[in-house]
């Protein structure tokens, strides 16, 4: 087993355990903190795939902004909201069945892919440079990139309009 595989299995275990804790813990702030552990694990996975930019952006955006927002929102709710309420409802066997089916389907689909189980591809040169040129190159992702920018701009304008309304 190579060092990379060891790191992958440790990180995967961290992600899965934390993800389980997110949905099972009764304390909402703890759930948010476990979610941060999941996101951090995802960042570690990006880093082992040589996607340093995505790894760092994952932490800046998801932990630095979105998770903090979650914690703020949770703090504004009552403390230990779910202490007395049952964590599941009558439909849980259905949800579990659908989840298992979806997971099995995903595993099947990934197994069908021709490069399943392959090693990560070699990136020639600076991966960051390759990513940035791909984002603005007409042959690659420039359309998706610009559409995302326009969507964010629209959200920004909308937020300003709502905040400004007297």
């Amino acid at each position: 087993m190579t060092a990379e595989q060891i790191i992958f299995f440790l990180t995967a275990a961290l992600i899965l355990i934390s993800a389980l804790m997110v949905v099972t813990t009764r304390n909402l702030v703890h759930a948010a903190l476990w979610l941060i552990a999941v996101l951090f694990g995802a960042a570690v996975l990006f880093a082992t795939l040589d996607a340093s930019f995505l790894a760092v952006v994952q932490i800046v955006v998801y932990i630095g902004a979105i998770a903090i927002l979650f914690i703020f929102a949770v703090m504004l709710t009552r403390r230990n909201l779910l202490d007395k309420v049952s964590q599941t409802n009558a439909g849980w066997p259905w949800a579990a069945g659908i989840s298992v089916a979806a997971f099995a389907g995903l595993v099947f689909l990934v197994g069908q892919m021709h490069n399943a189980g392959a090693q990560k591809g070699e990136v020639s040169g600076d991966p960051l440079m390759a990513l940035s040129t791909a984002l603005v190159s007409p042959d690659a992702y420039v359309l998706a990139f610009e559409v995302a920018s326009i969507m964010l701009l629209a959200a920004l304008v909308g937020a300003v309009y709502i905040a400004n309304r007297k």
């Binding site: 932490i59 800046v60 630095g64």
Partner: protein, 395 residues
């Protein structure tokens, strides 16, 4: 002589040979050497941190016309050690109703988020932790973990003052992150890389403070806000919320927050030096990296001194002023500066160096002048409107 030109490599080769001689596997030897390097580096930084306690107390004393610590050792140099002994001996209190795990995790993350930064600090031409190609974003990410530690401390303390302090601090850090990232983009645009090593190496002939003085200033202001130091120390606000998010921490747990804050300030002094003041560059620094490391620490200390100077001179500002200053002034200015820098840089790219530097400098000065004039006109309009509104109100 080899040691003087490339100390890290010499030590690395020597250790590798030694470990391989003991019959260790290749990867074990490399792993142990890296671990040793990390432990030694962090220890060195923490020892420096102990010294910073003395520096901070001595400098604040001078600013406030006092003597500062002068009893233990020459010039009070050994004062931090009694401080540490006192912190260790203090009772470790966990408040009732506190969330134990999160409460204890917060100070560790707080200091950790600062130690993370040292992985990318370019101490000298061949002395640095790693040469990340996203180093500038990495320091923002480490700042995000610092924000997280503060909100964890504030929430887990089960104390309304701690929570209020954490809220203020997080509002502060999240908003000032934006001008900071934009200010970080300016060296990125100038060099075409986010790596600290590349940015420092690009300043061999001229420092970026000449090319972008306004960028350096914006970065300094945003850094001070990110550090939560005066005038942005609303998180502590002793007269309002006692002492903010670390109110419930005692002994060494408080010590970790305190050590983290001091080291954070020094580290940002180092970043200002690396980004805008040439980093380790100086006479003969290229040949002798240890000399470069010395230059770097001196420049970082100067940056740290400026941060202290601001802290102990300027009074705390109100929270609405702080947020308005960021969103209505600093952020737009940073974005405009980024655009002006990018355009001027592109236009003058092929010009001779003297023309390039003076052109960039003038564009910055022009932008600063326009900003100041605009602010003055706005203030005058507001004053006149107030004057003309007053008689009407009197009627």
């Amino acid at each position: 002589m080899e040691f003087l030109t490339d100390p890290i490599k010499v030590v690395y080769d020597w250790l590798l040979e030694l470990f391989l001689g003991w019959g260790w596997a290749d990867w074990v030897a490399v792993l142990v050497i890296y671990l040793l390097g990390i432990v030694l580096f962090i220890s060195a930084v923490m020892v420096l941190d102990i010294l910073l306690v003395w520096v901070e107390r001595k400098v604040v004393a001078r600013f406030q016309d006092r003597l500062g610590p002068n009893r233990v050792g020459p010039f009070g140099l050994f004062q931090p050690f009694p401080d540490i002994i006192k912190l260790i001996l203090k009772e470790d209190i966990t408040p009732e109703g506190a969330d134990r795990v999160v409460f204890n995790l917060a100070p560790i993350l707080s200091l950790g988020s600062v130690l993370f930064l040292w992985a990318v600090v370019p101490l000298a031409s061949r002395i640095y932790g790693v040469d990340l190609n996203v180093a500038l974003l990495y320091i923002v990410a480490a700042g995000a973990i610092g924000t997280l530690s503060i909100i964890m401390a504030g929430w887990a303390s089960n104390n309304k003052y701690a929570l209020l302090g954490a809220y203020r601090m997080v509002a502060n850090m999240i908003s000032y992150e934006i001008p900071m990232v934009v200010a970080l983009l300016i060296p990125t645009v100038l060099v075409g890389s986010m790596s600290f090593v590349a940015i420092t190496e690009a300043q061999a002939n001229y420092w970026f403070v000449l090319v972008s003085p306004l960028g350096a200033l914006i970065f300094l202001v945003a850094a001070i806000a990110e550090l939560g130091r005066s005038p942005f120390d609303l998180n502590e606000g002793e007269s309002e919320i006692v002492s903010g998010y670390h109110i419930e921490y005692s002994g060494m747990k408080f010590g970790l927050f305190y050590a983290g804050e001091l080291l954070h300030a020094f580290t940002f002094g180092g970043f200002i030096a690396a980004l805008f003041f040439g980093g380790w560059h100086g006479p003969w620094a290229e040949q002798y990296p240890l000399l470069g490391a010395f230059y770097f620490v001196v420049k970082a200390m100067l940056g740290y001194w400026v941060i202290m100077w601001v802290k102990y001179t300027v009074p705390r500002i109100r929270i609405d002023h702080m947020l308005a200053f960021n969103w209505k002034f600093l952020t737009p200015l940073a974005f405009i500066l980024l655009m002006v820098t990018a355009v001027t840089h592109r236009v003058l790219l092929d010009a001779p160096t003297w023309l390039y530097i003076s052109g960039m400098f003038l564009s910055n000065v022009l932008l600063a002048w326009i900003t100041v004039e605009g602010l003055r006109m706005q203030a005058r309009r507001k004053r006149e409107a107030d004057v003309s509104a007053e008689p009407a109100a009197a009627d």
